[in-house]
Amino acid sequence: MKVPFNGAIDCDLHPAMPRAPDLLPYLNEYWRDQFVNRHIDKYSFVLTSYPPNSPLSGRPDWRAPSGLPGGDLDMLRRQALEPFGTRLAICNPLHGAVALFNEDMAAALCAAINDWVARELLDREPRLRASILVPPHNPELALNEIERVATDRRFVQVLLFAMGDMLLGRRLYWPIYAAAEKLGLTIGVHAGSTYRFAPTASGWPAHRVEDYVAQSTAFEGQLLSFLAEGVFQKFPALKIVLIESGFTWLPQLMWRTTKTWRGVRPEVPWIDRPPADIIRDHVHLTLQPVDAPASDPRALARTLEHIGSDRMLLFSTDYPHWHFDGEDVLPEGLSDEAVRRIMVDNPLAAYPRLREAPAIGAQAAPNEETVR
């Protein structure tokens, strides 16, 4: 179904990343030399997880005659913001910097991209917000970048990826979470792999569609990691958003984990209440892709009942990725109340910094009670 009112908050939008030469002005002299002399500026920095010509990476009617999907800001306004009455949209930069092994080069590129995003996107379109791209394999450098960029309140989230060097609950990463909690930034874990490991526990699949499908299993591993390591006890105000890998897999995870926890509590004594309750309090998931049968809206309705909370889902188009056609971004079978929570209330609850945006129209005013 279509979005029924104005004021939506789109929590996953992908403007195309700049080509490397466009980033040169944002690099210091050393890195400019490196890029030019080593011809690094001729690389595409396309992530293997998002090949630009793949059907998943660009909806056919959202592709420009030339250039990358999501590469034209006017098109983005016309296609991603206006049709859905979007008031705010969070840009998640999918750039190959995070897959480099050279941590310093990765950090320099991430900083260049963040500065480019501020200048070329946020300055030019006031409805846009952004996530901070960081070198995830070096928490110290990541922390520096977070602290450098966070003074710009339009950056609302730290972006990490579902398949990286290590499971994200590990204590090595905790300085990032401490900073995020302190600075009012949300931790976003987005689909995608740096391919440090095979995408499955039994090795490397042959097909790209398998890599994509397997993302949800990476999210399962990440959620268990955050939970088991005690991240939510250590950082009680931390919000985590799981981006672009569905949500219908969540109920069985909560069921299984809560049952297992009863048997393994002495191993993780800091988990002092049922994991399902902890997950509902700390975790959000973006809407698209909706991995449920379009032909049977009751299946989705049952699944939402199984999730047991209407506070978790966040509206997303995942523009320009192709998960739905026309303007039917919302699945059938959602109540008016659920739609409003997904479109407005839940995003405001998940992203403290979004609450700083100018007041919005009465039609889609948030329910104060739900936005804590």
Partner: protein, 377 residues
């Protein structure tokens, strides 16, 4: 001693809660029972001198960092029911105790043996793996099935050596004591890859299902795509993630197109994930169809046609009847009851289902589905 405790408990239990005894309960088929050796030397009669010496001198050579122990220590008694230890040897090594504690009181009409340890599925030395697999198959017959007619075996094959696996399947297939083929879902390459296809062809010819029981670290890949977990709590969950991607590989490589009569049983890998995972596969298969023309129908159709699931450890929703929705979506004819005896997370047939299941459906899950799938008389 455990029996004494049990009997004492029965005397003090209020009558309405007291076990009414096997005679008053319907017979079941238990699709996951773990037999164990008293000591690894129990395999020696089935190994040649060359491999006996190898086992004693070098032992198993696996893909993880601790030898002869679990890298994720279990929560109690090495992952066993504490009441399942016999006078000597590990749980599952004493047939008389298994009969007294499980087969008799739980009304087990048929039990599927699932030998995991030292069966060759994880062994890096493929010649040793072959010797172990043959030995374990012989041992199942001699130590278990010949002594207890309710038990049935699985033809254990080392999945990384397809040629040997095929010969072992062909050698054992005439024996009706072996009702399925067992290999590890934690393969070196995803299970749908062509190097494993001879095994599927042999399974189809032998008319035996492939049983995939969750287990260790056969292929050496981390149990999550973002590396190794820290705690057993995570590792326990990761087994089900691995089961999902193993199923994904079989579907997207076109295994069920090429081998339409192949039957696959996912053992101890959960089942509540299956509907959502099928929805996800269907959705993205449709979008990416051109990449995998070998997959001619929506993935969920192959799963509905070719795949079965065992129940233990059964998922427990906060609202128990929600599990009924899941089974409606999977199909009540696709679930096979299992206990995982003698492991710590054993599901008791009396209490596994925490919502009302009508008698017809109960009969299917507890008995008839398995009898039909495995051709049990």
């Amino acid at each position: 001693m455990n029996v004494t405790v049990r009997e004492a408990a029965a005397k003090t239990t209020p009558s309405r809660l007291r076990d009414k005894g096997a005679a008053s309960r319907p017979a079941i088929v238990d699709c996951d029972i773990h037999p164990a050796y008293r000591a690894p030397t129990e395999l020696f009669p089935f190994l040649s001198a060359r491999w006996r010496e190898h086992m004693a001198t070098f032992g198993e050579h696996l893909r993880h960092g601790l030898s002869g122990q679990l890298p994720y220590p279990r929560m109690m008694a090495a992952g066993m029911r504490v009441d399942a230890f016999p006078e000597e040897g590990p749980p599952g090594s004493d047939l008389a105790l298994m009969q007294r504690q499980h087969l008799d009181p739980n009304g087990v009409e048929r039990g599927m043996l699932m030998p995991l340890s030292k069966a060759g599925m994880e062994e890096r030395n493929l010649e040793f793996a072959a010797a172990l697999a043959s030995a374990v198959n012989e041992w199942q017959l001699e130590a278990w099935i010949s002594k207890e007619p309710r038990l049935r075996g699985g033809i254990v094959v080392p999945q990384e050596d397809a040629a040997f696996a095929v010969s072992e399947i062909e050698r054992r297939a005439p024996d009706p004591a072996f009702v399925q083929i067992l290999l590890s879902p934690r393969t070196s390459d995803p299970l749908g890859h062509r190097r494993y296809w001879p095994i599927f062809a042999a399974a189809e010819r032998a008319n035996r299902p492939i049983g995939l029981h969750v287990q260790g670290y056969s292929g050496g890949h981390p149990s999550t795509p973002a590396g190794w977990p820290t705690y057993y709590m995570q590792e326990h969950y990761a087994m089900t993630s691995g089961m999902q991607t193993t199923l994904m590989s079989l579907v997207f490589e076109g295994v069920f197109e090429r081998f339409p009569a192949l039957k696959v049983v996912l053992i101890e890998g959960g089942f509540a994930w299956a509907p959502a995972f099928c929805w996800r596969m269907d959705k993205h298969w449709e979008r990416m169809r051109k990449e995998t023309p070998q997959v001619k129908r929506p993935p969920s159709e192959y799963v509905r046609r070719n795949v079965w699931f065992t129940t233990q450890p059964i998922e427990e929703p906060e609202t128990p009847r929600h599990l009924g929705d899941i089974i409606d979506w999977i199909g009540w004819d696709r679930l096979l009851f299992s206990t995982d005896y003698p492991h710590w997370d054993f599901d008791d047939p009396r209490y596994a289902f925490k919502f009302t299941v009508d008698d017809d459906k109960r009969r299917m899950i507890f008995r008839d589905n398995a009898k039909a799938l495995y051709g049990l008389g």
